[in-house]
Symmetry: C2
Subunit: 256 residues, 2 copies
């Protein structure tokens, strides 16, 4: 009893068994899975096989394994934090989704150049001189963290007085650009990837949780690239939101 009849490798079969148990509600969210020894007994497999199966489930984000305690079923990734990337404007004040987040550390400003890798990613040419402003932010109520990088070409900074001190907030940057007479337009892309170890530490991302990355390129209507923002967050706890009024949008953009 307990042996399994499923396709594929043994550890895959064990993983599939446990996965079914989770899906069937046998192990509800938060529940403690059987210990490795119990799983060995139950499925008549060796400990390495059990560990591989458990590791598999962890890499799928289904369970959390705690040293000395056991494996717990993760609750479904229900993002509790929403970053609203819609830009709103009240008079001369801009508000973006991170306005209410707190700075964990003072922002750091670096001068650098875009490379062949970072340039196109951000909509810039290679070798362009830029300010890079890095921030580590935290959402006050949940503690969710975000990394925020703003890339400001020196060409842009030279034309806008306020950008001589580039460590002003994104909201202020937008306000400064608007004040300088630019008609702002942005294009934002959202992608996902697994965080590197240092990103996992900085953002307090658990195992097997992807990172959401939103890249916003701000342009003026003449097509010039003004600034870029890169915002990275825990994909499990955060989601990125946009709000659009189709018909209002259409009035501006439809031909005729």
């Amino acid at each position: 009893m307990g042996e399994i009849q499923r396709p594929g490798a043994l550890y895959q079969q064990v993983a599939a068994e446990i996965r079914s148990g989770i899906a069937a509600g046998e192990y509800p969210p938060g529940a403690l899975l059987p210990s490795e020894a119990q799983l060995m007994e139950r499925y008549q497999v060796s400990r390495p096989t059990v560990r591989k199966a458990v590791d598999r489930l962890r890499s799928e984000g289904l369970i959390d394994v705690v040293h000395g305690k056991g494996s717990f079923v993760r609750s479904l990734p229900t993002p509790s934090v929403t970053i609203d990337r819609t830009i709103t404007r009240e008079g001369d004040t801009f508000r973006t989704g991170l306005s209410d987040w707190e700075e964990v550390e003072p922002p750091t400003v670096t001068r650098g150049h875009t490379t062949a890798t970072t340039g196109p990613l951000l909509g810039l040419d290679e070798g362009e001189a830029v300010f890079i402003v890095d921030r580590l932010l935290a959402e006050p109520s949940t503690g969710t963290r975000a990394m925020h990088r703003m890339v400001i070409p020196l060409a842009t900074a030279a034309e806008v007085e306020e950008l001589e001190h580039p460590d002003i907030s994104p909201d202020q940057v937008y306000a400064a650009l608007a004040k300088a007479g630019y008609h702002l337009t942005w294009r934002e892309t959202v992608s996902a990837r697994m965080p590197l170890p240092d990103e996992r530490v900085a953002l307090a991302i658990p195992d097997a949780v992807p990172m959401l990355q939103a890249v916003r390129v701000t342009r003026s209507t003449d097509g010039a690239h003004l600034i870029q923002e890169v915002c990275s967050v825990d994909g499990d706890r955060a989601r990125v939101a946009f709000f659009i009024d189709v018909e209002a949008f259409e009035k501006e953009h439809s031909p005729g």
Copy 2:
């Protein structure tokens, strides 16, 4: 020579060494890493340790391991497919980001009810009767796949003649709603999570690659939920894009 001086577990140290090598360009994208035997020799560790280190890098999405050939450095996740979620309108024709994608299979239509889990996720109450239209799509030039689900409350379908046959395309659904006199408004959220095994198969997602999920809730200006769309894609190959003209948007939404 070859031994390592780094904190943490042995396999972590080996993983960190290789990771540095990748970052330093010693192993450029596409390069073949040393074989497991060579890594054993180089770092004087056993094969399980090497395998664990390699497994770690794979779970970070840094390498691809091919049976019988070796481990290859993955090129940086540079999404080659962009799903533009901006809605455009030409006369009575709507266009969304998936308009040009091909249907791999005919769409399936299911009648069901929202649950306590799926309802709130989609902006609906629990137990509401809905049509569920599922599609498996493929981008013609790259083959990238997407799962697309459209949830149409029966209450909505009852008021719009064209929705008696709910397997019409999203573009046509929008057109039908607009034709029925609704002023459309939408809110879209993007999240990321690891795909479940069946999702990985359906979308042909490699190991250690997260899934991007965009949920679009279409409302009328009176606040009623009209329809929901859920679109899931390979996070490595695709990204989700939005285009906004700040000032046009602001004209419609700013007070005064």
